[in-house]
Amino acid sequence: MPGLSLSLGIVFTWVGLIVVIPLAALVVMSASLDAGTFFDTVTSDRAIAAFGLSFGAALVAAVVNLVFGLLLAWVLVRYSFPGKKLLDAFVDMPFALPTAVAGIALTAAFAPNGLLGGPLADLGIKAAYSRLGVVIALIFIGMPFVVRTVHPVLQELQPELEEAAATLGATRRQTFMRVILPALRPALLTGFALAFARGLGEYGSVVFISANLPHKTEIVPLLIYTKLEQFHYAEAAALAVVMLVFSFILLFVLQRLQKRRRPSVMRNRPTEATA
């Protein structure tokens, strides 16, 4: 078919300018650091604390979104109730809302004098300005991923499977645990991985709610940002390289998950996995 050279020409120019050259600059810059300084930067106490928080919070948030994402998808697919269409549209809000707005909104809600933060404070739980705040922000921005990957799969699930299980004597709970959940597993994993990847790199919504205390509530993207502001470009690059390695691993895992043959319980559908 014609048009290959033109389209590829456009594509490669674009990709070259926007992606390849900048990333090459990253590699060049971090290569300028000798191995010793590279390691020191990446393994400093502050960096380790930041990595721990970024990964830990992203993991917890992704797990929460796994559970509630499944719940939301189930409720949206299986039940009807007033306002369902509205709910369906609003689930995508974290995709559409700028992260800065999310940041200040969540802070307002969970600050010690906030609508939700107040009662929590009475219980002795500090929501905003703490690690919990980071998790809350990541739950928010990761919310739609699991819902959107599970929703189409759940919708296309053959009712015959549940009927078969019932004729074989399974209770509703047994049917769910042994038949429905296993069929949803690839979609759940994909959604989880997407939410996790997004949470790792998140910046905008976290910096407002976390108070950014080094060693305590500082995430890696913020640490990188701080290094840049201090013109410690090479150190920032070093940290970025480590983050990128993990990002690429995640990306690879995601590509594999999305390519894997779906079980023949449903037709093939492309996955809608926007960030």
């Binding site: 939301l72 707005v101 909104a105 940002y225 013109f231 990002s247 590509q255």
Partner: protein, 278 residues
Amino acid sequence: MNHRPALAETPLARYALIGGALTFLTVFLFIPLGLVFVTAFKDGVDVYLASITEPDALAAIQLTLIVTLIAVPLNIVFGLAAAWAVTKHDFRGKGILLAVIDLPFAVSPVISGMVFILLFGASGVIGPFLADNDIKIVFALPGIVLATIFVTFPYVARELIPAMEARGREPELAALTLGATGMQAFRLVTLPNVRWALMHGIILCTARAIGEFGAVSVVSGHIRGETNTVPLHIEILYNEYQFTAAFAVATLLVFVAILTLALKSFIAWRESQRKVVA
């Protein structure tokens, strides 16, 4: 979905599940969003209007619009080209291209912005060259545009690729046998059928371009009145404890977000209508 009373959960279980879902959304979504509006209007409508019309705010709005109007059309062209290349041809390296397209989703926005600093910044790779020629990229409009393009370029492509793939190559091949050039096949056969997917991608791309914070924050230099987009302006107001003003400007972005969602729903509805007719 068929009503299958024989296989449904007990009403109690149903209400509990719906209640759980609604509670989750209320806590994490509806309350924070509501608070944006409540806080914005806390000091009255006059203060609200003043906040969104004062010079720095207007400059931020203008900058955001300019950046978006440059970045989005460019990304549309890219998205169309990439989708055409990937879905209608076979070539080596297709997998790599697809992975590259997914790249911005896996990379932190801060890193996305940072790579441009490393390239074009004062001590960057070609920084000295730029300084000698008095070209400003980072801490100026070009840098912001580049960073925005980087984080938004996948959206259009990712929507188009499944849509163009779903119909296979037959329609375009048929057009070619009937004498159409490649461009004609693309314009008259491919495009009309991916209208909705294209629109969906444009909407997502635009929403992200307007709202991008992390990447732009790194490259912009935060020069008030000059290199602040709306999200950055909100940050400045917030850090100066001008909460009402910050939330007031934020409501503008919430409106954009709601508009985005409304358009998405509309498109999804029109698409399903089309399927019913076809």
